[in-house]
């Protein structure tokens, strides 16, 4: 135990503090997902609209969010907008803004893909049955698209959790920051703490993401049938 530095975890409230640190990241990802999913469904549906201006604008938004590393987006909001607009943003707020924008873009592309996968005759048949456009979407298109969409959007949650680990880089006190504090505080008594603590953090992230990935895979298998 001494050699691997695992004993540090059982000292005082260290393990609880680590979990609290992970909680900060999880809270931000959960909030961002809660914003992204409805916004993504709205934008994704609009992306299938016939108006070329709307489509072009949404496409541009998606590509910008996609091509930039999420860390660059974080820097732009955290350092860039605060300087340019003179407001004061905490790390958590900038993270929430960035991950909601990014998540919305990713989600909208998933929704768009699910909607265009519905064959054209479904729309035509609905129109032939005198359903209005909202009725067509509500009763015909969305229920079918949802089947394909569900596993993909659950996958988005794990991607969100993994991506929110970046908030460390804009100075939010999360699980790595807490780890560093614990390792520093126990430098003398357990010099090997870094191994045990970082391994634990790695496994904590795994414990958070793995069940969600499994759920996504299960739903994916079911959607194929």
């Amino acid at each position: 135990m001494q050699a691997l530095g695992l004993e540090v975890l059982f000292k005082g409230t260290n393990f609880i503090r680590l979990l609290g640190g992970l909680g900060v990241a999880l809270k931000i990802s959960l909030l961002a997902v809660l914003i992204s999913i409805p916004a993504g469904i709205l934008l994704g549906t609009l992306m299938t609209a016939s108006n070329p201006v709307i489509r072009a604008i949404l496409r541009l938004y998606l590509e910008v969010m996609r091509i930039m590393p999420q860390l660059v987006l974080l820097f732009l909001v955290f350092f860039g907008t605060t300087r340019a607009l003179g407001w004061d943003l905490s790390g958590e707020t900038s993270a929430l803004i960035v991950f909601s924008l990014w998540g919305t873009a990713e989600m909208s592309d998933l929704v768009r893909g699910a909607i265009i996968s519905i064959p054209k005759h479904q729309y035509e048949s609905a129109a032939a049955l005198c359903l209005t456009l909202p009725q067509t979407y509500y009763h015909i298109i969305f229920p079918q698209a949802l089947r394909r969409l569900l596993p993909l959007s659950i996958n988005l949650i794990t991607r969100m959790i993994k991506t929110t680990s970046l908030i460390l880089m804009i100075g939010v006190v999360e699980v790595i920051k807490v780890s560093q504090q614990i390792i520093e505080a126990n430098r003398m008594s357990s010099p090997n703490a870094a191994f045990g603590v970082y391994l634990t953090v790695l496994l904590l992230y795994f414990a958070a993401c793995f069940p969600i990935s499994m759920l996504a895979r299960f739903l994916e298998k079911r959607a194929e049938i």
């Binding site: 590393p69 340019a84 880089m169 191994f195 790695l202």
Partner: protein, 219 residues
Amino acid sequence: MDVSVLTEYLPLYKEAALLTVKLGLLGILFATVLGLVCAAVLYFKIPVLKAIVKIYIELSRNTPLLIQLFFIYYGLPKIGIRTSPEVCGVAGLAFLGGSYMAEAFRSGLEAIPLIQEESALSLGMTRFQTIRYIILPQAVSVSVPALVANVIFLLKETSVFSAVSLMDLMFTAKDLIGLYYDTTEALFLLVVFYLIILLPVGILGTILEKRARYAGFGA
């Protein structure tokens, strides 16, 4: 925006971009090799190795690169495995990318119906010939879109390298903001340099995807 500041910063960013590209490409190369090996192990169902590969894929896909890098760079030296920041970055990227590449290759191999293999064998082709001339050409063309997406994903992931004190683009930008407070210029160059790196790869990928689609069967 101050143009003189931009020209002053330019050489720093150029150097940082070269480092990002160099380490990114090395990491992607190793990730591809690792992915190929893992996909082969899964495809041929090699007993013990198969279980190890499966555990590795789950572990690597369900943890963020940033945490993997922290573990490799700060954790592993405590049990005697010491790495330089460069080696750590490449190793981390290969560890993360290996599983994504393996999944891409696997999905390609799985897309080939069994009848293709059976027909080849019944025509008297050896096992090796079947894989070389029948399975691989079809599997690769199915895998291409996923592989391209992985390359872009991994290049973007290199942005966390600054966490292990590599002087990459993010590190340079943060450093300059801290030193001189020319936030707008520093961030502008950051975005421009990432676009220079990522846009050509994205465009090349789209072209490649279109060409590879011709090789698909039944489509």
